[in-house]
Symmetry: C2
Subunit: 241 residues, 2 copies
């Protein structure tokens, strides 16, 4: 049995708690980082998972100084070195987008782990394997880049869905019309590289359609985004701008 203290009440903690409660090898207790709690209590855990906002990790982990538990945060962008040096340090980063209103399948989520020594790495790995098929050792520097890649692949693509949604709404078109296309966009890159999967007016250098689209766009933000991404696609395929 791995005894886990889970600190934080955000989206990551919400989903981690849910999955860890259903995991037989794990006994999880949740703490709110904003409430005062006796840090002695946290001594009896194998792992303290700090699932708080990036800016609060340092402060929360300072309170756990000198603990025998592994102190591991769950952030994509914070280095392991930001944890107090006089404790067992680790990282347990589930690479996924979490919203409270959407269930996730943890078995498919890559869990990126890092630790200050092999013994601690093995225990974090055991915890990871109890909820996911995909546990990977990733250094702090790599994890930072991975998080950056994730921002492009998730945050920014979702924002583009939002713009597509707005354009549909303004033209009395249901956004549902676009959803099969979105599903296929994702399905394609299971077997094709994004480079191979690219289609559209920018890819085939169809400047007449590009200009028509620019005329249609009312919002100056959307126009700038259209121009910049079109130029970036054109450059990727060696087209003259």
């Amino acid at each position: 049995m791995i005894k886990v203290a889970l600190i934080g009440r955000g989206n990551v903690s919400f989903h981690l708690e849910k999955i860890l409660r259903t995991t037989e090898e794990v006994d999880v207790t949740v703490y709110d980082s904003r409430k005062k709690q006796n840090s002695n209590k946290l001594q009896s855990f194998d792992i303290c998972l700090i699932a708080v906002s990036d800016g609060a990790i340092k402060q929360v982990s300072e309170k756990l100084k000198g603990s025998d538990s592994i102190i591991a945060h769950t952030s994509g962008s914070v280095s392991i070195n930001e944890l107090p040096s006089d404790c067992h340090r680790g990282v347990f980063y589930p690479l996924q987008t979490f919203s409270k209103s959407k269930e996730v399948d943890f078995s498919e989520i890559p869990i990126c782990i890092e630790a200050d020594n092999d013994k601690n790495l093995i225990l974090l790995s055991k915890l990871g394997n109890s909820i996911s098929k995909n546990v990977q050792e990733v250094s702090s520097a790599q994890r930072k880049s991975l998080h950056l890649a994730a921002v492009f692949a998730n945050n920014f693509t979702n924002h583009l869905y939002g713009i597509a949604n707005e354009i549909c709404f303004e033209n009395n078109l249901p956004f549902d019309l676009i959803k099969p296309l979105i599903v296929e966009t994702t399905d394609k890159i299971k077997n094709l590289s994004p480079f191979e999967a690219q289609t559209g007016p920018a890819r085939r250098n169809d400047l007449s359609t590009v200009n028509d689209h620019l005329k249609l766009l009312q919002d100056s933000d959307h126009e700038k985004i259209y121009k910049l991404l079109t130029q970036s696609i054109q450059r990727t395929y060696g087209q003259k701008l």
Copy 2:
């Protein structure tokens, strides 16, 4: 039996041919628009589908002037009025991204149809229903906006996957690590609006992470895209820039 002539040898024609050949109610014959062919031959079809590049639609359709068939193009951005006025005009636009090396499930693809009269619309609708569960009447103006929305939802998101892929490659990380996140990004918006589904540093106004990411980006194109999309997300959620 609907007799269909399919003109063109591109990605759309490739996939339309495949599905129409397996459809019992349809008899399809394919023509290459670049080869000379006796346009009298095309007289015996109920529908001539012109699946050629946008710029070639006018020229190809001119050759079919005076035909008794419905002359329908398959483009997202070309108006029905660009077809010759002295023929039965229509549009048969499958809203999807097509690459030859990727199979598609036509039953889920919205087929956007338009015609110059009800009789022609009914026949195009019959053809659409023979391959898809989702046939919609969409005007030329709406179709243009729909195509613009599709560029954001597919072309641009795929390009962002490409950037994520590059960042992974440069840091010796397998792109496969990001794929479950991409699948979830799409899965989320089945039930949440993109507005609700948004997460990430720009959404939570985490400027420290945004600045770290900007420092990490080596490519000036990627840096510009990161900045512009971050600002656009911040505006969407009413954050001060």
